[in-house]
Symmetry: C2
Subunit: 350 residues, 2 copies
């Protein structure tokens, strides 16, 4: 359903409004469960295949959507069955995502280091030749600063590659575990028969929009608790504030934004189950999700840099480069919040 054109989906929703809500929800869950099981088969067959990463992506994607639908439309399903499955799907998708995340974090940090350490001329030449920055090595060339940058890059590469390898092993181990097989079995049940609650008998047009709009209301209320006016002011310096204070300072500051990211995802996926005609353009939630994803990636990259800086016996030049890189990523955190506020306010007005 996610792949269909939104207008078509909306027209179909009109027809489906008279169906029992449980039927509509079950159809969505069946579709996602089928995708999940197909990806599982492809993944099992093609362990060393080039398709395998795509299969992993598809697995995570469906797992998140099933879990999300079970959350938003939980009142329509048997809670004794839905709640534990939702928790297990959460475990699965985060376990499978980790390897990908470490890879992305390393690429992000090496790209940033390149931008920070290459000469202006080199950067301009690359922009002209459209050579992706990642493809270039952080050119040593210059003095002690560039040496520090190169060493910082090597340190991050070593640490994050190791973390990625471990995450890969952990994912393989998880996929072979009985815990995983239990999840796969539960999803297989979902593909044939969804255990529904009594409330699922009511017409879809009456029940589903209320639940979808509830997800959106929770999102909007939580966004309302964010420091929007400050974050919408460029160069407010908030994300870097207290960067050298106790380690938990950034986490405490970022947490409400991460929570909004989760709620936005619930709201977006809920619209896939039953489009909710409130004039929200289809592209807006995706754009909001993108900036909050940037927010999360930059925040986690900054934390990885702080952690690398704690490595014993690093050279001062390496530590200095890590400090610059940390601040650079916290700056991207601030930038993502700024972009979110302006996108959100445009959404709220229209």
């Amino acid at each position: 359903m996610a792949q269909r054109h939104p207008d078509m989906a909306l027209a179909e929703a009109g027809e489906r409004a008279a169906l029992p809500a449980g039927d509509v929800l079950a159809a969505y869950l069946r579709e996602q469960a089928t995708t999940f099981l197909r990806a599982l088969t492809r993944n099992a067959q093609g362990e060393n295949d080039t398709d395998a990463p795509d299969a992993g992506h598809q697995l995570r994607r469906s797992a998140r959507r099933i879990g999300s639908a079970l959350h938003t439309y939980g009142s329509l399903t048997d809670p004794a069955w839905a709640d534990p499955l939702r928790a297990e799907l959460g475990w699965l998708s985060s376990t499978l995502a980790r390897e990908h995340e470490y890879g992305g974090r390393l690429a992000r940090l090496l790209t940033a280091l390149h931008r920070l350490s290459a000469d202006e001329e080199t950067l301009e030449d690359e922009a002209a030749a459209l050579v992706p920055a990642q493809a270039q090595q952080a050119a040593p060339g210059g003095g002690p600063l560039a040496v520090g940058a190169a060493r910082a890059g090597a340190l991050l590469e070593r640490q994050l590659s190791l973390a990625r390898t471990r995450a890969h092993s952990a994912a393989l181990q998880a996929m072979g575990s009985s815990r995983f097989h239990a999840v796969a079995d539960a999803v297989a049940v979902l593909a044939s028969e969804v255990p529904l609650a009594a409330a699922a008998g009511a017409p879809a047009g009456e029940v589903l929009p209320t639940l979808t709009s509830h997800a959106h209301t929770v999102l909007a209320e939580t966004v309302g608790t964010l420091p929007l006016p400050r974050a919408g002011h460029s160069y407010n310096g908030d994300a870097l504030r207290s960067a050298l204070a106790a380690e938990l300072s950034a986490e405490r500051q970022d947490a409400p934004w991460h929570r909004v990211r989760i709620l936005l995802r619930l709201s977006r996926y809920a619209r896939e189950v039953f489009p909710y005609a409130d004039g929200e353009p289809e592209s807006r939630p995706a754009a909001l999700a993108h900036v909050l994803e940037q927010h999360r990636e930059a925040a986690e990259a900054a934390a990885a840099v702080t952690s690398a800086a704690r490595t014993p016996r690093i050279a001062p030049a390496t530590a200095y480069a890590l400090g610059v890189l940390h601040a650079d990523q916290r700056q991207e955190v601030e930038q993502a919040r700024f972009a979110f506020v302006h996108l959100w306010q445009r959404t709220a007005v229209s």
Copy 2:
């Protein structure tokens, strides 16, 4: 003249338009020369007086204005006399400014370190109690990050205090030198008789607006060579770009902005000699000058941090804190450029 209300100054300019241009220029130079000589006397009397810093400020202020008027209205004075005096006034004001600059740089960096290393709660409490951040010590409290911040602060304090002390000695030495006495003598001549060129006989209303507007045109043309569209885009990341490349990278990038700062000063001071009625609100050039001053201070503070990071045998935690602080100041460089572009474009439109 600078202290008068602009409307009054403009009305007086109407009356003065018929006077010879040389008379109007000479009156301005005489006023500045008198202020300079008075400040010199106060400075000599009150070496250990609380008034002394004000006297130093007044000396620099008049020296800059005399030099600037001799530059913009150079065609009205005897070049054989004006050009060397202008160069000597430049030497004098930069020699006298240095002590003040090091003090300001240290205060700026300690304030920034405090913002970066204090807990969010502490910062909020301070904001509520309106306690200036500078008054607070960079609280150690936290883990290795806070220790690094405290050590970085101590290192900067040591280096910049030493530089300030040296600048103070250099200023005292300069004030006792025969070179200084020659400048003071030349300014004393200015207070009684300005050596004018033949062109100074033409009516002020014909000659001065042309020269004032020429200063503004040179400024506008130079601003036109800046990367305005990029700099006017928030979070463009330009000022931090290449922060870890060769040391000269930042200087090369900042130079055109510093040049605009000088040209803006020439244009501002020219308006004091003879107000130029082009509808430019009086407050705008001052606001532009302020953001370019912030630009310069942040750029020089960032360079001082890089220089401190080159101190042998510093701890990695200290170097890391210096890296974060460097990036923070480069961020303020970017912010100042952003503010300049938007102020400038508002000026250009109105």
